[in-house]
């Protein structure tokens, strides 16, 4: 079955295959000219002229500064499959997503955006993109999803990688990270002053700009800012509406009060809106609490993943600056994926 999909995929993908080949040629040509002493800009122009088809690379040049664009196809398909497992209602979407996946990357991506990301109660969800890899990026053997081993898996990222991406992606107005769905932080939670035993809650570590990136406004209190996601900042948390309503009786005094998470004191500073289930749009394992990434070392102790460059435990989601054309995204994605992989090796 996967073999059949792969073949279909390859045929449909031929056009972009050629396009990518021509682009790689232009890049080599420009590099060669630069080595021969030509200024980079001049080299690019010469390569273009020699090639005789400026249309092929026009967009690439425009987007040359937009670093590290990676499309999220593989991630989204995996996500779709996960969703299929969890909620039957999602199956139609997932199947449709996979079906369109055979038809082409762009349509999948658009659909995933519309159906999944658009379900987020976020401002301008069409500007939101998930970063991940896909078959056309940094793999020599194409579509490797079927065998279950994710060689060169660029779907989950380390905190270092997140910092790198965040610092080098001008096309993203905001780039946020959140803990991947598997292994959400299990928290033993007890409200300050309460005598009842601690209860198990689901926590998720997110970057300080997570809610801003999604454009989520607080239902009560406030949500995180980057200032909350600094080492040494007071430990704060945000509670989901569902936990607030279901576990704490919509008690308004929850906001501003102190909670112990695994014995560590946190202040709940706000509640998310009722229709926000987390960035995964999955009700199954939605977080009850969100905590800044910077609190992870304190909570996890020696097992902390924050400063471990080998720990890929974050999903990245970004908001594209208005005016950046999505059509260009695939091109610069490929170009920058390569420099991305070099940078990653350097880490």
């Amino acid at each position: 079955m996967m073999g059949r999909i792969r073949n279909l995929w390859r045929r449909k993908n031929l056009q972009s295959d050629i396009e990518e080949e021509l682009q790689s040629h232009l890049e080599f040509a420009a590099e060669g000219a630069v080595r021969d002493g030509m200024a980079a800009e001049e080299a690019r122009r010469t390569a273009k002229l020699r090639f005789g088809n400026p249309a092929v690379i026009r967009e690439q040049t425009q987007e040359a500064d937009a670093a590290f664009w990676l499309e999220g196809l593989l991630r989204d398909i995996k996500f779709a499959l996960r969703q299929m497992k969890h909620s039957p209602g999602f199956s139609a979407t997932a199947v449709l997503t996979l079906a369109l996946g055979i038809g082409g990357i762009t349509s999948v991506f658009t659909l995933v955006q519309q159906v999944m990301l658009r379900m987020l109660p976020a401002a301008n969800p069409q500007q939101l993109w998930v970063i991940g890899d896909y078959s056309g990026c940094c793999m020599s053997s194409g579509y490797t999803q079927s065998n279950g081993t994710f060689q060169n898996d660029w779907t989950f990222f380390s905190w270092e990688a997140y910092q790198l991406f965040r610092g080098h992606t001008p096309a993203f107005g905001q780039l946020a990270a959140f803990q991947i769905g598997e292994g959400n932080a299990e928290l033993a939670v007890r409200r300050g002053g309460s005598r009842s035993p601690a209860e198990s809650r689901n926590g998720e570590y997110v970057s300080g700009n997570f809610f801003q990136t999604l454009g989520i406004a607080a239902w009560r209190g406030r949500l995180f800012t980057d200032a909350d996601d600094q080492q040494g900042a007071p430990s704060v948390a945000v509670m989901s509406y569902h936990a607030w309503q279901g576990q704490y009786g919509s008690d308004p005094s929850v906001v501003g009060s102190s909670f112990a998470f695994d014995g560590h004191p946190f202040t709940v500073v706000g509640i998310t809106p009722p229709n926000f289930y987390g960035a995964k749009v999955s009700m199954g394992d939605m977080p009850d609490f969100w905590m800044p990434l910077a609190t992870e070392p304190m909570m996890a102790g020696p097992a902390s993943r924050l400063k471990n460059p080998a720990a890929a435990w974050l999903d990245l989601i970004g908001r594209v600056r208005p005016g950046r054309i999505r059509r260009n995204c695939r091109r610069s994605c490929r170009a920058n994926c390569r420099s991305g992989s070099q940078a990653m090796q350097a880490i």
């Binding site: 080949e21 021509l22 790689s24 040629h25 080599f28 060669g32 088809n53 020599s140 070099q342």
Partner: protein
């Protein structure tokens, strides 16, 4: 004569390049032909890729995407068995062509 037209000579150059260098991407083929011919031959990139794809369709070349030494992705070509046979034929054909033209030019 069809085999000995200009397109045929580009095919020959590509086949010969790959037989000498093993595995190369398109840009590498351009460079090799340029260097090996003492800069006398410049391959038009615009005609190279259609030729490569056509030769692959003919079964003379196989291709695969791989990373270069510097971590760039590129499509690499190599000769197939059929391609080696084609190279021998094309070389022989070309010698005939050159011989024929030279003889004709010397005809007085």
């Amino acid at each position: 004569m069809a085999k000995n037209d200009l397109q045929g000579s580009l095919d020959l150059l590509v086949l010969k390049t790959l037989s000498q260098r093993g595995r190369l991407h398109g840009y590498g083929i351009v460079l090799h032909i340029q260097q090996a011919s003492d800069e006398l031959l410049q391959v038009e990139e615009g005609s190279l890729y259609p030729a490569l794809h056509r030769m692959e369709q003919n079964g003379w070349l196989s291709s695969e995407w791989a990373l270069t030494d510097t971590g760039r992705r590129a499509k690499y070509y190599r000769l197939t068995m059929k391609g080696r046979k084609q190279l021998r034929e094309a070389e022989a054909g070309f010698e005939q062509l050159v011989k024929g033209i030279r003889t004709m030019l010397r005809y007085a």
